[in-house]
């Protein structure tokens, strides 16, 4: 669902990274309590240029270069948020969010609960994530499962330019903290017409990317294009695939999954994080809970292997590929 009171007919062709930049621009304009802070987000405009031009436009007291200190960034954002500001904090890469894990786990996600709503710390933590861009070690982690297991936080992960802007705006407007995961691999991979004005894409709703009848493929973020690519091959073989882009991981859109799986009766979950402990297991459980009797085959998972994301020379062997997706679909079909 798209919520907007404004004119959405004026659009511009944008990449994911441009859409994210534009989402921040819109919110910095709309509400002067909105802040952007992080390492290199100001003068440099971000190592991916996500915040390009924002400091020039909104000043260095609103778009703020911070010390190299993730726990400090998130921890001071707690103080800013509880005192009336709306921080959009950038973690330069998701693999560098771990020093802030304590702050997110013990404070960001718990302050509303701890004070029965007296204090709250609405903020957005942006984190570029994922492998496949030949980044150095640690830069390629996909750590959503460490945050979906954290009540009080929402976890959002768009795959397309339109959703990226709309979900980012929704996240900034959300009364609760949101981890906003950005698939680096999609940053400049494609363009889409994106409204220039403000609009929201509702948090907690998946998207039916493509209808199909034989098998449901459930995925998110950087794996959406991989699945789309695989499906082209698979449909050549006469298997009709439905593709669901979850877009939000917590809260999970269990209905869209159940509806699809109850129609197709077969499901494949695709994500790039390691399988063990991965969020794919939650999707499997959700299907187990809602749609057990409909299933004609076990739910297949195509995920990263249970190994650290490899150095770049071999990272493509870690990531789900169209071929691996294809074989999983075959397995589900031939069960």
């Amino acid at each position: 669902m798209v919520i907007s009171t404004k004119n959405l007919t004026e659009t511009k062709s944008m990449t994911v990274i441009q859409a994210i930049n534009d989402g921040m621009r819109v919110m910095l304009e709309a509400d002067n309590t909105t802040l952007v802070l992080g390492e290199d987000v100001g003068k440099n405009g971000g190592v991916f240029r996500a915040t390009d031009g924002l400091q020039e436009r909104f000043g260095d007291d609103r778009v703020i270069d911070t010390p190299l200190s993730e726990s400090g960034i998130v921890g001071t954002s707690v103080g800013l948020a509880v005192n009336g500001f709306k921080p959009i904090a950038e973690m330069q890469f998701m693999g560098f969010i771990y020093p802030a894990y304590d702050q997110i786990m013990t404070h960001v996600s718990r302050i509303r609960m701890r004070t029965m709503g007296h204090f709250s710390v609405p903020m957005v933590i942006r984190a570029p994530y994922g492998a496949g861009v030949r980044a150095p070690e640690i830069h390629s982690d996909s750590a959503e499962a460490l945050f979906t297991h954290m009540p009080g936080l929402k976890v959002v992960c768009p795959s397309s330019p339109f959703d990226a802007k709309g979900l980012l705006i929704a996240s900034v407007k959300d009364p609760d903290p949101v981890l906003f995961m950005e698939p680096m691999r999609n940053y400049r991979a494609s363009r889409e017409e994106v409204p220039v004005d403000s609009y929201s894409v509702e948090i907690g709703k998946g998207k039916l990317v493509k209808e199909g009848n034989d098998v449901s493929i459930i995925t998110w973020g950087a794996m959406v294009p991989v699945v789309e690519n695989a499906v082209q091959q698979i449909e050549n073989n006469g298997v009709s695939c439905e593709i669901i882009d979850l877009r939000t991981l917590y809260p999970l859109d269990q209905d869209i999954i159940a509806q699809s799986v109850e129609k197709t009766q077969r499901a494949v979950v695709v994500h790039e994080a390691q399988g063990t402990g991965g969020f794919g297991n939650d999707v499997v459980t959700s299907i187990n809970d809602t749609s057990f009797l409909y299933l004609k085959a076990p739910v297949e998972r195509v995920t990263g292997f249970d190994i650290p994301v490899p150095f770049s020379a071999l990272e493509d062997h870690y990531l789900p590929t169209p071929k691996r997706v294809q074989e999983a679909v075959e397995k589900a079909m031939n069960f």
Binding site: P67, S69, G79, F85, Q103, H107, M113, T115, G152, P251
Partner: protein, 350 residues
């Protein structure tokens, strides 16, 4: 480095004024306010310990011995300032305006104990050590951005200085020159670990050098120096002078918590020479003609009543509400959480 950070005192253990020039700052109203609050939180603290022994509240971390540090600093705050305390700072919180009944509730395992009175900017006690320092930097930064003169104060122990968040919070505050008071209570122990195992520096105050900010070491059992030095740092902060690190040297008289046995790790002799901060203030009052036995007794009586009433109110407070578990995790609980709540409430009714 101790040379640079000598411990400042205004009165000595016998309650004698060490520096006559301070005399003008020590008016009667202040002396009585300090005494009242120190005695008040002492009364609270002793009661809490006794309630714990009787099983009427849970594990409790006494602050006995630290009353001068907590009251002196809290009284230096203005109404619109922010407080970021730890689990041992309920004395400071009560002095700054926290509700006593709710404070007892907190130690009875009730989340309601974290909710401050409307308008009082008191954050819940930080349980994970040192994590509140960046919060205090952030909240003060927000005040600066808004253009107010409000400041924030973060309380933390000697042990907290070893955590990364101590460093990151101090660094942020110094870089952005936020109006933040980092108020350290060096009670010389972190549970069983003495300060010389916690750090190799002779003082905590000298850690301010890392951040290019003022640092001061004070006798944390001298309520006057605590009050006046905190006040000075606050004034500087209000006027754009940025953060200050204050090391208030004090002593944890008792156990770390009611679950702790300090005889495991410290001798009887340790701390034997520490004069109770309330006794010190009493001596000063007696030496300087501020002591009025009758008035004092009536204050003691009044405080006893206040504390007893708070206990009573705590014990007759409505029972914890299971639905609260689900209702405050999000502003608008997601469907999947509402389903969990519904099922569980149903089950409870079965």
């Amino acid at each position: 480095m101790t040379g640079h950070f000598p411990m400042r005192q205004i009165i000595d253990d016998h309650g004698n004024l060490l520096d006559e020039s301070y005399k003008k700052d020590l008016n009667e109203e202040l002396v009585h306010r300090l005494y009242f609050h120190m005695y008040r939180i002492r009364t609270f603290d002793l009661k809490a310990k006794s309630l714990q022994r009787q099983g009427r509240i849970g594990t409790y971390p006494p602050f006995e011995g630290q009353e001068a540090a907590q009251v002196g600093s809290a009284l230096a705050l203005g109404d619109d300032d922010w407080m970021f305390p730890t689990y041992r700072d309920h004395g400071a919180m009560l002095t700054f305006g926290a509700n006593m009944m709710r404070t007892f509730l907190y130690w009875n395992g009730r989340v309601e104990g974290c909710v401050p009175p409307e308008g009082k900017k008191i954050f819940p006690a930080a349980v994970p050590i040192a994590t509140q320092l960046p919060h205090a930097a952030g909240a003060a930064w927000a005040e600066k951005k808004k253009g107010t003169k409000n400041i924030s104060i973060a309380y933390f122990g000697d042990g907290a200085t070893s955590e990364g968040d101590f460093h990151e919070g101090m660094n942020f505050a110094s870089v952005f020159q936020t109006p933040t008071i980092f108020f350290n209570q060096n009670n010389q122990y972190a549970i069983s670990v003495p300060i010389d195992r916690q750090m190799n520096s002779e003082t905590i105050a000298q850690k301010s050098v890392s951040y290019g900010i003022p640092g001061v070491r004070i006798d944390g059992n001298d309520c006057f120096v605590v009050y006046l030095e905190t006040k000075k740092a606050i004034e500087r902060a209000r006027n754009g002078g940025g953060p200050t690190l204050i090391e208030a040297v004090t002593w944890r008289t008792g156990a770390h918590t009611t679950a702790d046995d300090p005889t495991k790790y410290r001798n009887k002799e340790q701390g034997a020479d520490v004069v109770d901060p309330i006794v010190r203030l009493e001596r000063f009052m007696k030496n300087n003609g501020y002591w009025d036995e009758k008035k004092t007794n009536s204050i003691h009586e009044e405080l006893k009543v206040e504390v007893e009433q708070a206990v009573e109110a705590m014990e007759s407070y409505p029972k914890a509400n299971v639905e609260d578990l689900f209702d405050h995790v999000y502003a608008n609980p997601p469907e999947q959480l509402l389903r969990q709540k519904e099922l569980y409430m149903e089950q409870l009714r079965r």
